[in-house]
Structures are given as structure tokens and as C-alpha cells.
């Protein structure tokens, strides 16, 4: 597993909102099932003393850390406050922030990621479903019933497309080590390259699926920097230029980041790229 395991304590910020409360319950349901620590505290400024899904709520991460052991936070705070929340977690000494929030102004994300880096804190997301190491830990909103424990790492810029592929891998008997949703925004904390580096040091992971989409060149940068066997699927072959395809980061700009040239560059590096999601399990079998 990477980024965390059963022993990782998690603080949820934005705990008292509808999303926060709902997903604290699901994360802890999973923690109980696998014998993990799970979410130990929630944080919402001004809501100290409340309880959400059986978890005590504090005004700040610092306050929560006085009473609980935790090294990671999962945040559900609204876009305008999420950058602040990332910096609070980094400043309090947490080593990982998983930012689920969508619609964070990109300048806020850039500042928060720079700040977190100074404090040695890694950021997954924003605009992501978080991560799931089957049988170990879930930090975020991924459905657990489609996954199974195994040796395939999955890194994705998307949410539901990840579930689609994970479902197909599971049906094909290919369990997963860790599934990481790195986020659909133009600027994200952990990129394909960063997560691949973690997978390289993870004995459980034998091959990795990269699920990319139009916009930028993070897929190629990741593939170029790793020795692990990888297979890819890139969404957006039918995406028109200069249009945002749902994700803030899914846009072909200035003639760059289109799916066809991305796929061509990956294939030039020897990375097999699926033409359809249903081809992914076969490609993974071939490189194992």
C-alpha cells in the first residue's frame, strides 16, 4: 500500500457538511471491516463539541491533534475555503491531504501546494475521489464493492471512469494494490510521476494502469520517468479543442494536450494504450 495503511489515523475537514458526514460514516464502515483506525476526528471551525457519524468535531486540526493521533486529512470543505484548509493541515504537521473538493480557484491550489511542500506535506487532488487500498484503507469517496485486493496499481484523473476500470479489472481477476484518483484539475498535487514513484517502492504492486484524459502532458511525464510495467487509457479522443470537458483540467489548449498525440507519445515509449476501457484488463495481462 502507498500513502497510508490500516494504522493511519484520518481527520476529516468540512466534517459537518452533508458530504463530510456521509463519507465519514462510509470510511469508518470500511475501517471496521478491515480492522483499521479510520477517521478519528472531524474539523469544522465553530462546531467544536458536536459529533458527526460517531466522531468528535473540533474547531481546528491543531485542536484535534491534541486528543487524537492522525497523519492524514481528507477534506470536503467548499472551493473558496479549500486552499486554506490544505495549508492548515500542512502547518499542523500532517503528512498527507486528500482534497476531494471541486471548483477550487486554481491560484488557491497553486499557493496551497507550494505551502504544503515547504511543510513536507503531500497533496492528493483537488477535485478527486481520493484513494483506496483494498483491504487496508479508504481515504475519500470511492465505492469499495467494485474493488478487490491484488497487485495492480491504478492512477486516474477521473472518478467514475476509475470505478468502471476497477470493476473490469476485478471481473477479470486482477485485484488492485492501491487506486489513486489524482484529480481532474489543471494543477494537482500528486501527479502520475509522484504516484508511480510510490508504486515503484511498493512490493505489492506489479503493474500500473494509467487513466488519463485530454489536457496537459502529465501522463507522458509519468510514463517517461518509471520502469514499472504500465498500460494506459486516455479519455477524450472525441473532445473538441478549447472546450472544458467537465473537468477544469480536461481542455485542449493552444494545440496541446489532445488525446491522439498523447496516445501516440505513450505508444512511442512502448506503453500499450487501450482504444476502449474494456481492453484494459487484456493489456495488463500482457505486460504482467
Amino acid at each position: 500500500m502507498i500513502y497510508g495503511d490500516r494504522s493511519t489515523g484520518v481527520i476529516v475537514t468540512g466534517a459537518t457538511g452533508k458530504q463530510g458526514a456521509f463519507h465519514i460514516a462510509l470510511m469508518n464502515e470500511y475501517a471496521r471491516k478491515v480492522g483499521g483506525v479510520g477517521v478519528v476526528a472531524g474539523v469544522t471551525p465553530g462546531k467544536a463539541g458536536q459529533e458527526v457519524a460517531g466522531v468528535p468535531v473540533y474547531n481546528s486540526i491543531r485542536d484535534a491533534l491534541k486528543k487524537h493521533d492522525a497523519s492524514a486529512s481528507v477534506l470536503f470543505v467548499p472551493g473558496f475555503a479549500a486552499g486554506d484548509s490544505i495549508m492548515e493541515a500542512a502547518s499542523a504537521g500532517l503528512s498527507l491531504v486528500v482534497a476531494i473538493t471541486e471548483h477550487i480557484p486554481v491560484h488557491d491550489t497553486m499557493r496551497a501546494i507550494s505551502y504544503a511542500r515547504i511543510h513536507g506535506c503531500d497533496v492528493i487532488g483537488p477535485n478527486c475521489p481520493g484513494l483506496l487500498s483494498p483491504g487496508e484503507i479508504k481515504m475519500g469517496i470511492m465505492p469499495v464493492h467494485l474493488s478487490s485486493r491484488g497487485h495492480i496499481g491504478v492512477i486516474s484523473r477521473s472518478g467514475t471512469l476509475t470505478y468502471e476500470i476497477v470493476d473490469q479489472l476485478t471481473r477479470a481477476g486482477l485485484g488492485q494494490s492501491t487506486i489513486v484518483g489524482i484529480g481532474g484539475d489543471p494543477v494537482i498535487g500528486q501527479t502520475f510521476r509522484d504516484v508511480l514513484r510510490r508504486f515503484e517502492e511498493d512490493d505489492q504492486t506489479k503493474a500500473v494502469v494509467i487513466l488519463g484524459e485530454v489536457g496537459g502532458s502529465l501522463e507522458e511525464e509519468g510514463a517517461r520517468a518509471t520502469d514499472l510495467p504500465i498500460a494506459a487509457y486516455i479519455a477524450g479522443i472525441s473532445a473538441p479543442p478549447e472546450k472544458r470537458m467537465g473537468h477544469a483540467g480536461a481542455i485542449i489548449e493552444g494545440g496541446e494536450g489532445d488525446a491522439r498525440s498523447k496516445i501516440a507519445r505513450l505508444r512511442d515509449m512502448g506503453v500499450p494504450v487501450a482504444s476502449r476501457p474494456s481492453e484494459v484488463p487484456r493489456l495488463i495481462r500482457e505486460i504482467l
Binding site: 497553486m110 489536457g215 502529465l218 473538441p240 467537465g246
Partner: protein
């Protein structure tokens, strides 16, 4: 959202970037009284959001005797299919040299990317490909207040020193305005100093409200309607309507349609928590496009309730056939509801897409 040139020019000017004296004109009659301030020669620039505006006749050099006639012609013109409703009249600049300067978001370094070249006035993407050494680059964390002097020396080389302060002002505009791109092309040297002869500013859609912008002009009417419901919607040119949850899965559905030689009419991501009402609105919105002959709904989620989705589809009651792939909780119930009402439920996205492509053949 992309600002118009005159809006960006005004912001640049307010931040101390030298800009030519200029006036926004909406009718021919407005030019006369301004002629005294514009001088013996001035430039009329159509305010249209198309690339290659100059080559398409959207920028004209005029003088007091032919100004009104040229302006009248410009207002009657269509530049690449776009009508001219506003014209920016600016004083003529005696150009001795052209530069290019921009600040953008760099996904790889997660910092601001500053680009500068002393070969301005050209298409920067072409220049970067043909002569990459001519384009100087620097990455700057947004935690910085100014561009450090060493970085300015690296960027500018032997170019005019006063461009350094213009780059710093441009960086301030970039930060204060939540910009995705702040660009001056060309930045020009004249006998009277350096001027921004053009201005481009794209504001982050996620920061529009704190920038005081209430209406995103980049969206079409149907796209704006979709935004009100919290959907991401993009109009395309085909005949198969598409509804999915999640941007990646919806894009993959479009790609699969193309793989089977079909053509998607739209991209619609209903987002998380697709309940009965949201699904109904989504189906109605897609069906309202007259080119849509069949609709594919592809929803996959751990927490999406299939019975809710099924009721949403039925309550939309649209004329076009709706082909559905649903996976989530209460799947069997959702299937039962749809089967009973004559809708087609498919096992996989691949089957659903194939059926839709067949249906329009």
C-alpha cells in the same frame, strides 16, 4: 472566461502597464468627437473573440478623413462569421520592435510560467516549435511577490530594461485577477517608450464570483442553462445525446460512440448524487436539442440509486428513445421500473453505445 481586449487593456493600464490611448466605440457617430484625441493616425480594432483577427480584416489603420467610412465598413463586416458590435479605436503606435510576454499556469511545475521573446507579433506556439531557443521561459511560485532580478535578467537578455517592470506588473495582474493567462502580443518599442499594443486576459471560471463577474460569456445559452442545474455540458455536432456521471466516464462514452462510428450530440456530466429530479432535467435538456435522435444514459456509482435514476428518466417523458446503462445500488429495482415502461436497459456501456449507434443508422 476570456475578457475582451478593451477590458483587458483597461486592467493592464490600471496596473501601470503603458497602453495606447484608446476608446470603445459602439456606433459610427461616437468617433467624431474623439478624433482630436486620437491624432493624425489611429487604429480601429474589431472586438471579436476570434483568432487571426488582423488577417481577416478586423484591424484597420485610419485617419481623420477616412475614419468614419472605415468604421462604418467594419461594423457591417463579419470576422470569421462573427458580427462586429464593438470597435476599439486606439492611437497609432510607431513600432520599432515587437516583443511577446505572457504569464500562464504551468501544470508540470504547478507554478506561474513566464514566457518572453524579442520576436513578438507572431504566433507564439509556432515560434516555440520552430525556434524554441528564441522563447525564454521561467517558472515562478505564486508565493512570490515579485519576479526576482536574476530571473528578469535571464528572461530579457539584452532587451529594454523597462520591460522588467512591465513583466512585474503583468505578474501582479495575473495574481490579482485569478488569471489562467495574461498575455501581451505584441509588446512594442516606440520612440515614446514601450507599450502593450494588445491585451489578453483569461479568468479562472472557478474564481469568477470573487472577481465580481456574474455571467460567463464563454458559454452558449444551453450550456448556461445546464450550469444552473450543476451540469457540465458541451454542445457537439452529432445526433446521439449523451448523459453520464463523472467527466472521465462521460468522455469515455463519447469516445466509444466515435469508436463505433457514431457521432455524439453533446457531453453532459450530471455530477455526483444523480437523483430523480437531476436526471429528469438532464434528459429534458439533452432531448431539447433538435439534432438528438437517441439518448444514451451511462451512470455508474457506488451511491447512485438506480431506482431514482429510472424514475427520473421516465418522468422526463421525452420523444427520443433512451438507452440506459445503470450500475449502483437498487440495480434490480431500477431495471424493473425501466423494463416495465419500454426503455432499454443494457448490461455494459459498450452494449449501450452499440445499441445507440445502431438506432441512428
Amino acid at each position: 472566461m476570456k475578457l475582451r481586449e478593451h477590458e483587458a487593456m483597461k486592467i493592464f493600464g490600471e496596473h501601470g502597464i503603458p497602453v495606447p490611448k484608446g476608446f470603445l466605440i459602439r456606433s459610427v457617430g461616437e468617433l467624431g468627437p474623439l478624433m482630436g484625441e486620437l491624432g493624425d493616425r489611429f487604429v480601429l480594432k474589431a472586438q471579436v473573440e476570434v483568432g487571426g483577427r488582423g488577417k481577416s480584416g478586423g484591424i484597420l489603420v485610419a485617419n481623420p478623413s477616412n475614419g468614419e467610412r472605415l468604421l462604418e465598413e467594419l461594423f457591417k463586416k463579419e470576422i470569421k462569421g462573427v458580427g462586429v458590435r464593438e470597435v476599439l479605436a486606439v492611437e497609432y503606435l510607431e513600432i520599432q520592435k515587437e516583443y511577446y510576454a505572457s504569464i500562464a499556469i504551468d501544470r508540470s511545475t504547478k507554478q506561474a510560467l513566464i514566457l518572453f521573446t524579442d520576436q513578438g507579433g507572431v504566433d507564439i506556439e509556432i515560434l516555440a516549435k520552430e525556434n524554441p531557443d528564441a522563447v525564454r521561459k521561467a517558472s515562478l511560485p505564486l508565493l512570490m511577490r515579485d519576479i526576482p532580478p536574476f530571473m528578469l535578467r535571464d528572461l530579457l537578455g539584452s532587451s529594454h530594461k523597462e520591460i522588467g517592470s512591465i513583466l512585474n506588473q503583468l505578474f501582479r495582474v495575473f495574481c490579482e485577477k485569478d488569471a489562467l493567462l495574461a498575455e501581451i502580443n505584441p509588446l512594442v518599442a516606440t520612440p515614446h517608450g514601450i507599450f502593450a499594443a494588445d491585451a489578453k486576459l483569461i479568468i479562472d471560471d472557478n474564481a469568477l464570483s470573487r472577481q465580481g463577474i456574474t455571467l460567463n460569456r464563454d458559454l452558449t445559452e444551453r450550456e448556461r442553462e445546464a450550469e444552473k442545474h450543476g451540469f457540465s455540458y458541451v454542445e457537439l455536432k452529432g445526433d446521439i445525446g449523451v448523459i453520464g456521471n463523472g467527466a472521465g466516464l462521460t468522455m469515455a462514452t463519447l469516445d466509444l460512440i466515435e469508436y463505433y462510428d457514431g457521432k455524439a450530440a453533446n457531453f453532459l456530466d450530471v455530477g455526483g448524487g444523480a437523483d430523480q429530479e437531476r436526471v429528469m432535467h438532464a434528459v429534458k435538456l439533452v432531448a431539447a436539442d433538435p439534432s438528438v435522435k437517441v439518448i444514451v444514459v451511462n451512470l455508474l456509482g457506488g451511491i447512485t440509486r438506480c431506482d431514482e435514476v429510472a424514475r427520473g428518466i421516465i418522468s422526463a417523458g421525452v420523444e427520443q428513445p433512451v438507452i440506459v446503462r445503470l450500475a449502483g445500488t437498487n440495480e434490480a429495482e431500477g431495471r424493473q421500473i425501466l423494463d416495465g415502461s419500454g426503455y432499454r436497459m443494457m448490461e455494459s456501456m459498450e452494449q449501450a453505445v452499440k445499441a445507440a449507434v445502431e438506432a441512428v443508422k
